[in-house]
Subunit: 252 residues, 2 copies
């Protein structure tokens, strides 16, 4: 019986631009008595990655376009915020009921193109998504390897609403060292029936599992260790595998 | 630092109609040295619930309607299977590319109205979703309480594909004893910013976390214990809270 542990990494200081996130994660994990181990999956919320990478914008410095002003009025949003959202977007997927769902330049479809006000210091500051979340994940993974010698997987997570279901869950927007989808087609089930449609989005499930300890805004836990999960390793993994191609999607 | 553990419940026998699932879960958990504790979240895959409740249909006994035959031909599916799917549905949401996405009589929107071939014994047998998954969850919870005296939450999970993203994740279709959504609107973040849109679908995240140990079809693990998660208790919870009302949904 293989038990999986979800360990919050507490005591990480408030992240500022230029901080060495990999180092701070290793130090905090060691300090609380759960040093990083081989095979750990480290889930990091995107906001601290964006802050460390300086991917934060002050809305006071933004001049909204005429289009942004119109949209902002229609949706009841701040025009400068809408301008930032539009600059992050390559297309608008849905608009209405106060919501602006956009396709980001990376290809993620999410509310406000991932532009996030929460857990960002400064009254008028917003965090953008990391420019290349897979690269961010690879850098943190590499740094953890340099510091500890341990081979881990890293997932950058984000909180997404979704069509059809209420509430938000956490999903993966960047991965390193782990295949984000476990393809089980061709495996047999308990009764020998060959599984035909089973492709499990394990990186999303790991992100959701980590949120169970991360989701305590008042405590400020930006990262978690998932220990004991047997994942498929990959050196060239990308979270883009989790994005459904438009021609396949029945809902876009 | 509160660590969450995801414990697979191994050694549950093949479930047959009429089996006392609550009892079998308690016995298997105790046998492997992890007896049920107060505050545990027990996640059970819907297929074993359907099997225990006799909610299994043999396709050989089904006469497909003319409409079912037409749809089956268009989608490349078995006409008897399509007939069963249509009988479980109250509306069709999308059709195409070999997929049939339906709204079940409970209101869930999912592929094939949740009719499932995998992990069902018998060449031509398929499992339907439980008739009332919340009631199934409440019964298992009550039985666990009777047997062990412990107060737990129970979640019935199902594997769902989703719009916009590749791969499947596990979500909750029935709950007992736990609020499925943690409403954090009004709470403050790390920097005092009031969270405005945060409603976390914790029952879905718990289902996904459990899948990390359940998702081993060859070992046949139908249930897991999630231990150490602080959830909001509720005696009248329903997984219907996780279904987005159509008038709110931008994608239906």
């Amino acid at each position: 019986m293989q038990v999986i542990r979800i360990i919050p990494i507490t005591g990480i200081p408030i992240i500022r631009e230029g901080d060495d996130l990999g180092l701070l994660i290793c130090e905090a994990a060691a300090r609380q008595g759960t040093p990083i181990e081989d095979g750990d999956v480290i889930v990091v919320t995107h906001v601290v990655v964006s802050r460390a990478e300086g991917n934060v914008v002050n809305l006071n410095g933004i001049s909204p376009s005429e289009f942004a002003k119109t949209i902002a009025e229609n949706l009841g949003k701040d025009p400068a915020l809408v301008e930032v959202i539009l600059r992050e977007s390559k297309s608008i997927v849905r608009m209405g009921g106060g919501h602006l769902i956009a396709e980001t330049k990376h290809g993620f479809i999410c509310a406000n193109a991932g532009v996030d006000k929460s857990n960002v210091p400064g009254e008028r500051n917003v965090a953008l998504l990391p420019k290349d979340p897979d690269l961010s994940a690879r850098r943190i993974r590499q740094r953890i390897k340099e510091i500890t010698g341990k081979n881990v997987a890293v997932i950058i997570s984000d909180t997404h609403g979704r069509p059809l279901r209420e509430g938000e869950i956490n999903v993966a927007i960047g991965v390193a060292g782990i295949k984000p989808i476990r393809d089980r087609r061709g495996e047999r089930d308990l009764f020998g029936y060959v599984l035909r449609v089973k492709r499990t989005a394990v990186a999303d499930e790991l992100s959701s599992a980590a949120e169970l300890v991360i989701g305590q805004a008042d405590e400020g836990i930006p990262a978690a260790i998932i220990r004991g999960y047997q994942y498929e390793r990959s050196e060239d993994a990308t979270a883009k595998e989790l994005i459904m191609p438009k021609e396949k999607d029945l809902f876009v």
